[in-house]
Symmetry: D2
Subunit: 248 residues, 4 copies
């Protein structure tokens, strides 16, 4: 555990996997973590885990589609200590045949995956600009670059989020705020993914992921941390991440 | 004027420029045009013009963000004669500094530029699939590929629309429905654009566009027509269009 | 057969398929065709076919890696009648595991697929610039955009050719020369491709291509022709072409 | 200075700037550096500098267009201690109007910027495959993604190199060799760049680069190092690097 810093990181979409791993990594590096997630109860184990390691993590219920909630969440983080990093990590990976994709689903996926990201990025920028520094990172996916069959809703939201990140990077970069977009191009190793692989394989024995097929969230978090530490004269806007065995 | 066909084209976002030029072109080729636009009154001159040439054009007030209206508009077209082509042409080009981009603006630009396109594409597909053929084309822009400064809202919507088009193309292509996305990478020659060039040039004499700087909407419409006529074994999903003088 | 024009088209890489189809199309539209190919003898049937339809086609042996030969070939075309279109269509699709890709192969594939294209484009430009107009089109492939396993040599040449096309388009566009790059993203229907499908399917009955899996070269040629006819205020630099059944 | 490792890094194109900075970084981390460059004499100061810090660096004259020289250079490195990283860093940034770009220049730029990269990557792979691990990184540029006016030769080589990197990454990734392509999208801070800025600014006072306009090579080298340290379940193939003030 590094020394405590007078700085906060906000993780919006602090799910069980990548978001949680990022929270843990920054906590170990001394940051106070503000972890936001729809259901605050589900953050309890993350908070407990970070505290057990000697870190500090505030778990907050947050509907990131709500401007006021976003503003308050990030404002609280910045009031605690300067907001130095803000990670937007909400996905909404759904797949429906085109004709079965309702307007309601399309809108909801966008609100979660794109609109929320815009609000979070903008409000983080508002707080960071007076400090003259900060990192705002967005989690992308394969669907950020490719609209596959059945992904009209999901990839539309992810493409849209990538545009937000680009536009922000071009406006905020010269003001010393590092905006980046990380294309996570493979499945992360989670109970849910393992279950899905098992189901797809049927009842057979081949239902285990192959070594190198899945990513450990902690490995992914290392790259968020590396980006946050890039010197300002050599910033990355976009990169892809995938396990060595992945076909692409 | 070609012989009348038993076929309709729907143009959603039949504005004064590209949309109107596409409507004229298809009308000349014998299609019955269903032209939809927020304000039906503004379609009167287009309808009159097409009728004066011996064509047929139905002008309809249409809020394409409304599923029922979209469904009814396209359903009426298809009831009149088989819907063979559907062109989505609504844009919402706005530019605001990031901190001044309200959630309301971001959402509205998305509803006009992306969500409407999804609804129109999906409903057109629903009607065309039983016919076993059809063309669904989306009008894109430079902002479909690049999130420039101040374009968080507009480019996010345009990126999202492009994802919709890709996803639809991959699902509908094998069912003989041709989905395409046209990246219009320059200004079209309109009164509004000329006025803007004049204003940007100040009061000086240089306020005229240079030859080859602007596109005649009729020239652009030719490419929509060419795509519609591609044989099914050699379809284009995406192309760019710009005038020869454009820098890119 | 259209009326004879006082204009020539040069097709470099006038193979049996796309190149030949382009030659036929332009011949039918009244252009005198200069068809170049490594082995002049193999052009005899194309020349005979075009002449039987009332067209004019000069078949020439041409090693397009040789500056002097390229210069002479295009110069002869332009001396016959103004060179209005030049199509570069040489490929060299090979696939080898990386460690088996010799320097000699890598160089040869590049010379055929990229260096030749540069020479042809540059020499066509030299002749067209004094006329103040012309079209220079390059045939690309999936490998122009994606470096797949085993394609280090082929995709490297195709990526390189695309860069040449882009650079030329940006320099020559404002001088009214239309440069385009066509990404042919599927197999063209040829005896060789049918044979390969048969071999891959083994001896089984499934060795026939499915309908809509292959492209008729004549269908592809239509798009070259459509691009050549685009008005200068609405030019396309790049488009993809694939059959409706293709997965991408 | 980290403890000495039993491992070598090869830097091909160990120029005065990025290549030298990478060499220094890996040397500090305990790697023995094999630095190759056309003119071995020019490596003397780099070698001296690394040795003064307690590191080990072998400077070798190397024409990377020559298969035998490449093979020997990398073989010597691997014989010294296992070759764990190989960085290809040769550029050949030239700009000529299209008609002035000779075949000779086009070929030479390709040989330096693309063909050499292929040879280096392939020979590094040959040595690393038996070890079951390694990193092979290629230095790209803006011109790797965009063929600008006057860059037919340079961008063609850079596009081609990127294809090589992609193809290698897809073949070697599953064999635990990490291939990456780094798009350096700005000028690095060198005497030559400062001189060019001065000349472009004329004799005026504005001839100094603005803060944040140029990249310190040492900052760039940090990202090569971070990529080399990514865990195999979360590898990056491609990223961009630019200073915060850069417009893009």
């Amino acid at each position: 555990m590094a020394d405590r810093r007078k700085a906060t990181v906000a993780v919006v979409g602090a799910g069980d996997f990548i978001g949680a791993a990022i929270a843990r990594k920054f906590a170990r590096e001394g940051y106070t973590v503000f972890a936001g997630r729809r259901n605050a109860d589900k953050l309890e184990s993350l908070v407990a885990e970070i505290e057990a390691e000697g870190g500090v993590c505030m778990g907050r219920g947050l509907d990131a589609r709500n401007e006021d909630e976003v503003s308050r969440f990030l404002g609280d983080a910045d009031a605690h200590a300067p907001l130095e990093a803000c990670i937007f990590n909400i996905g909404a990976n759904v797949n429906f045949p085109l004709l079965d994709t309702t307007g309601r689903v399309f809108r909801k996926v966008w609100e979660m995956g794109c609109y929320s990201g815009f609000l979070v990025g903008r409000e983080a920028a508002r707080l960071m600009l007076p400090h003259g520094r900060g990192s705002i990172f967005f989690t992308g996916a394969t669907a950020s670059l490719r609209g596959g069959v059945g992904y009209a809703a999901f990839s539309s939201a992810k493409f849209g989020l990538r545009a937000v990140a680009q536009s922000m990077a071009r406006e905020l970069g010269p003001k010393n705020i590092h905006v980046a977009h990380l294309v996570i191009d493979a499945a992360v190793d989670t109970a849910w993914v393992r279950e899905r692989i098992r189901r797809m394989a049927g009842e057979g024995a081949a239902g285990e992921p192959e070594p190198g097929q899945l990513m450990d969230p902690a490995s992914v978090a290392e790259t968020y941390w590396a980006l946050h530490n890039q010197p300002a004269d050599a910033w990355t806007f976009e990169l892809d991440i995938r396990p060595y065995r992945e076909r692409w």
